[in-house]
Symmetry: C2
Subunit: 353 residues, 2 copies
Amino acid sequence: MPLTLEDIARISGVSRSTVSRVINDEPNVSESTREKVLEVIQKINFQPNLAARGLAVGKTRVLGMVIPTGVTSLFTDPFFPLLIQGVSSACNSLDYSVMLWLAEPEFERRTIRQILYSGLIDGVIISSALNDDPIINSLAESRLPFVLIGRHLSNQQISYVDVDNRIGAQQAVLHLIRNGRKRIGTIAGPQNVIAGIDRYQGYLDALHERGITVDPDLTTFGDFTDPGGYACMRRLLEYNPDGVFAASDSMALGAMRAIHDTGLKIPEDIAVIGFDDIPQASQSLPTLTTVRQPIIREGMLAAETLIGMIEGSPEPPRHIILPTELVIRDSCDFHKGQPLRKEVILLQKQRDR
Amino acid sequence: MPLTLEDIARISGVSRSTVSRVINDEPNVSESTREKVLEVIQKINFQPNLAARGLAVGKTRVLGMVIPTGVTSLFTDPFFPLLIQGVSSACNSLDYSVMLWLAEPEFERRTIRQILYSGLIDGVIISSALNDDPIINSLAESRLPFVLIGRHLSNQQISYVDVDNRIGAQQAVLHLIRNGRKRIGTIAGPQNVIAGIDRYQGYLDALHERGITVDPDLTTFGDFTDPGGYACMRRLLEYNPDGVFAASDSMALGAMRAIHDTGLKIPEDIAVIGFDDIPQASQSLPTLTTVRQPIIREGMLAAETLIGMIEGSPEPPRHIILPTELVIRDSCDFHKGQPLRKEVILLQKQRDR
DNA sequence: AAATAAATTGGGAGCGCTCCCATATATAAT
DNA sequence: ATTATATATGGGAGCGCTCCCAATTTATTT
């Protein structure tokens, strides 16, 4: 039922080709016909068929975004929503659309592949994949441009956007040490995701830097979720930590509940630092000291990088590492007993590897 | 570079048409050729071009999902993420893909329309639009199937999925009344979104039902966000409420912080009930009594309904209203002073208008 | 066995667009 | 004027698929 180029052409008394030129803002159309055609398009409210254009041109101006569920409690944590917001925002301004796949575990890899290579999308953003996910190697071998959110260990040919998780974590733990904490535990993230690995390494880095021996009893591994953080903290509490670095704010908030439930005080008895700076971090009681990462910017940069790859000449793979900031709030107080209310933000220099 | 039907046909020694039949699982292909062709497809890892199919068939098996940002603090609240999860999940199992548009305010309506009518999507789900959003009338006049999340007041021809916000809110307030609360305030939602309107009406319904006069001082209007709830609660506190119904959990959590900050006790001094049952509701201190709505199911139903409209015969518009449940936790205690820890869930009968 | 029916297969046309090239028209240079 | 050049315009071909119909093969019936 919808009209076609040919219809518009007939109505405005020109040819299909001319209408196409007008729509695509190409040169070599006289001002008078351009106006005439535009007028008809406006009046009829004509929209060219993008599927047909996609077929003809081989590009759809659609980006895919794949988010594995199951890695974390997908949407309890605002990480993914914010990431999507960033991607979507960049796409909006660059005239791209975004197609979203929440890759449920049951929803097998094969199906994903089916969609990726079906010509519906020009490129794809893969978020926080397991670092050995076969989909990545499969993509690397294909011709489809893609960008990872979260760096990739082995293959240097792969473009990615990430934050400096390791340095961020290290700064957090150093802060705890400066704060006078002696028994600093960690609730690390899963060790099959790069963010989990890097943040744990940052924790170790800080301890090593200050010559503190790592106590295995003070190390637990959660799943980035609040209940996971709660459970880990209960285990840690048996070993009397006086400071805890959690690899996500959700886990930190869960940990704070666990501490609260045993009657201990934060930060007097135990200091807590999280990672992410989700909105709840500034609304908890006490407010949570955390490592802020610019999630929306990550999403935007990933989209922009991908679009660059799609449209641009063949460039070398891009590795973008964004800096983090330590946001100091009440859960980890330098002067014991009297929280500093103001937020001190330590800016960290940007590093681009 | 990717292969086409014709290539597969050549390799397996049959015709394009036969390959097409095999791929689409059509009858009238002999078992032997079917196997032969399937083998080639498997080996080559062939993926048919969906843009081409879309052109030929006039359907893309892609759903659009439009979420207006700006209406609420989009992603602080897990409402939209869960909704997306529901939609995505239904799409996964019905072999559809979902295209997401976060309609930023600057991102004008025209652009959205451009995309909607471009033949890239077979239908669209519009979430929590303002109830006078011109996009809805525009859609209603078009031929594009669409489903609203959140009912529509004026046009009965429009299909939607919603929860029974009004009854849910009413139940919550009745619970406060049964609880012995005398001065029950509300932090209502914005009155240009149907959920905001209905939940406020439910509050009024409950008061009227029990013959309680409505005190305008005890009515405030927030924006569904936590800081909004905090601000509203501060205003309410000047009028000494002993119970508050907030139209979203985020606002309820903000309200609890405001109450806490003035040194009052929950539920002893003020009882609080929220709406949504987001994960944080069961992790707050005290845990939050709230009206649970099945967000993921809403998303799934919306997608299923829409796909039904796309594929099915012309049916009458579907109006699906899901029931809510009152989840009783500690923030609103029946026996003053001694919280009942266990969650009592009052099931409400399903109503389908 | 022939005649009929049913199942299988192939190829043309077309979905709505872009791209390329040929043609027509306007402009500039000789 | 005449040729050369730049600018506008139209139409064919083709992107990779599905759909339809004709042709071929196979199975069933008389």
